[in-house]
Symmetry: C2
Subunit: 242 residues, 2 copies
Amino acid sequence: MTKEASIFNEIVNNRRSIRIYDDKIPFDESSVDRSLERAILSPNSSNLQLWEFYRVKTKAKKDELAKYCLGQNAAKTANELIVFVARKDKWKQHAEFVLNEAKKTFPAKLGKREKLVIDYYSKIIPTLYFSDPVDLTGSLKQIVSAVGGAFQPIPREVTATDMRIVVHKSVALAAQTFMLSMKAEGYDSCPMEGFDSRRVKKFLELPRAAEINMIVSVGTAKPEGVYGERIRIPKEEVIFEL
Amino acid sequence: MTKEASIFNEIVNNRRSIRIYDDKIPFDESSVDRSLERAILSPNSSNLQLWEFYRVKTKAKKDELAKYCLGQNAAKTANELIVFVARKDKWKQHAEFVLNEAKKTFPAKLGKREKLVIDYYSKIIPTLYFSDPVDLTGSLKQIVSAVGGAFQPIPREVTATDMRIVVHKSVALAAQTFMLSMKAEGYDSCPMEGFDSRRVKKFLELPRAAEINMIVSVGTAKPEGVYGERIRIPKEEVIFEL
């Protein structure tokens, strides 16, 4: 095993979800800066980066948000709460940004690959992400996909719900980079899904279309902050080969 | 910065999604063993571990799966393809397993926390995960949540679709641990969502209820396997403080 692999192994093995933090231990806020900067380097669907991160740092705001996290200890005792938000609604702006940045690196005479990139962001992305209130578009895309798919492999995830899932997955990739990074920085974390998303969105002044992916608390674990031994399904029951 | 943080920083910065691998370079398969063992240590919703990992290693099977990945280079040239699968349908078995394992560690006389754990896995989890074909249950839960939520913070994500999203997020957390681990082991990866999930499920003999989360290819990058410079939305537009 490489040295990098053995250190990474330690990080992964030492990370546990922490329910009680020790707020007496000094907390270096810059570890969150660095960890979020790493989080945004995570791979994500079509590189649209449909994510936002809200750091809640002041005592009053943290106390309010902890209430919306159903008062759980993992929220109440944390040094910071970071809200990971899925912004599917920003697909158009982000697609434009990514395409414009890519174009800056293109040669004067466009090759096949450059043309594919332009097509991807100006035609395929809108086809995938555009939706109407009742997702009639999604139903039509499903029919097209089912007909085309009878003859050749074709993507099946084309509805508005499918695209919501795609965005949430990408935000989760960033969340895991963040949590592992915090452990590498010497801090603990806990991802939470037990919250009132409606109140959290109002609290962050987010539009209706934004969705809360998860809320991650950070700090230094109290020994009693780990609730029990790690329990895992035996790997033989989840890892298969063919 | 700690030594761990600086090595983690390198891993994150060096990981790029790779579209063309060099199959002339020897590949150590045990790096995938170790990386999947790390992936299953990822945090996940209610610790239900509703995930499965299918390693596709033989040439014939890889060639077939690459076709279902729409023939993309990132699949065709990889040393291995690992299919990350979301198994929401296994919630009951997994909840029983986790509760039974937890019970083994409980003292003879149950305290408040032990009783909460038993309640959580035998009552709350079934309430969240049980669903019927048209998700009438989900609609009823939404009404209960809306009424209760008028007076106090309450979870809003209670439909079958919400729970699908929850499971996909957890699988994505494992996928990111896996990809970072492969980089720590000295190898490259590419997460793919461009595939025919219907054909992939048939290929893996998965039931209807299983869902493909993503397919991750692994190997060693060819220099031309990185498609262009890294493009990121400026951090000021995605990271906020309050």
